[in-house]
Point group: C2
Chain length 215, copies 2
């Protein structure tokens, strides 16, 4: 497998965690520097017209796969052990909804291209940008904090008592919340879950600062 | 099944299409008026702390399911025919990535709560709001227009030559693009796909204007 990655891309962070959990080491990791605009270069646009990370080229050399959650479902289907989704359809839906609550309702609003647009077209300064990021993280985290009360089995996982794709999504988002100085004090359950997960090698080794392209 | 719905919610529009394709009629459809703020009332917050639509209560009366794509995966697993995903893992990933390109990269940025925040906190007027909506729809549609060239089998579907979850996502987004007067002329492939899909009963009957709570 070939992974297109950037150390600080949250969506790539998710895929790195999933790869580690599944015990898969990509044959090649290609750095695409989002800060320098590598994603808009013709070379990468030929791989992903969406100009977003990550992209994963499967072992058979077939077309590149995009969108972190689609890639993680692919890994789950091709490398079922250890599972990142529970067995029953209803539980799978609950776990997926916790993951999508991060991937759809929080993360897209804090994306670099969105913050850049706010600065360039709506003349937002740092304070406005941080308030914007904090607004969507706060709303999302408040809802998740309430939900995990019912879904977490042990206070150490988003759902049940083993690692799922919901855990794979919350840890990068918590990293991002800290980066934008969002007050995470009101979310003690999410903090406890993330603190424990971040100590696991699969998560720690996937962290942005642990990547070779981190400054 | 019990569906919480609002006629103009794009995410609910997706679930309505999927239910129609699967031939499932919910026992009850409960209207949650997003314009009046029903989603913030205690009654609905008890169902979904995310205060977002849709929510689906399964037949066994188990906890409500959220996030349109998690609900659609649930429908796919519990009602496999007709399938909304292809068979091979790689093809499933491609279809899911087309769906997520809409659900993560386009739709969240045009959500009502986001546009309201732009107006209230960044003093955006109609022109700025429409430009904002157009910006993300344009970027996303341009990338999808390029991708479907390779993924569509017949120019009438996003992937292959039968309806998938990617089709379920593109039609509501095209509806939304028209609403915000986005110029969709540059996306002839997407327009052809949507024009054909919109003529199918499963899509037509799920359309916002066909719902009982539409004005």
């Amino acid at each position: 497998m070939k992974l297109f990655s950037f150390w600080r891309s949250l969506a790539t962070f998710r895929v790195r965690i999933a790869l580690n959990i599944k015990g898969i080491t990509p044959d090649e990791v290609i750095q695409v520097n989002l800060m320098k605009g590598d994603q808009r270069e013709a070379t990468y646009r030929a791989v992903n017209p969406m100009m977003a990370l990550p992209a994963l080229v499967p072992d058979d050399g077939g077309p590149a796969l995009f969108e972190s959650l689609a890639i993680i479902e692919y890994l789950e289907e091709t490398h079922p052990q250890p599972p990142l989704l529970p067995r029953s359809a209803a539980e799978r839906a609950l776990v997926r909804s916790l993951a999508l609550a991060v991937a759809c309702d929080i993360h897209p609003l804090g994306n670099l291209r969105v913050l850049n647009y706010l600065r360039a077209s709506l003349h937002a300064d740092d304070q406005v940008v941080n308030a914007w990021a904090g607004q969507w993280i706060g709303l999302g985290f408040a809802a998740l904090e309430e939900r995990v009360q019912h879904t977490s089995g042990d206070g150490l996982h988003m759902f049940g008592s083993s690692v799922t794709v919901a855990d794979v999504c919350i840890v990068p988002q918590m990293y991002n919340a800290r980066r934008y100085q969002v007050d995470v004090a009101p979310y003690p359950r999410l903090r406890a879950i993330c603190a424990r997960l971040e100590s696991l090698p699969a998560f720690a080794e996937a962290a942005p600062e642990a990547q070779p392209d981190a400054p």
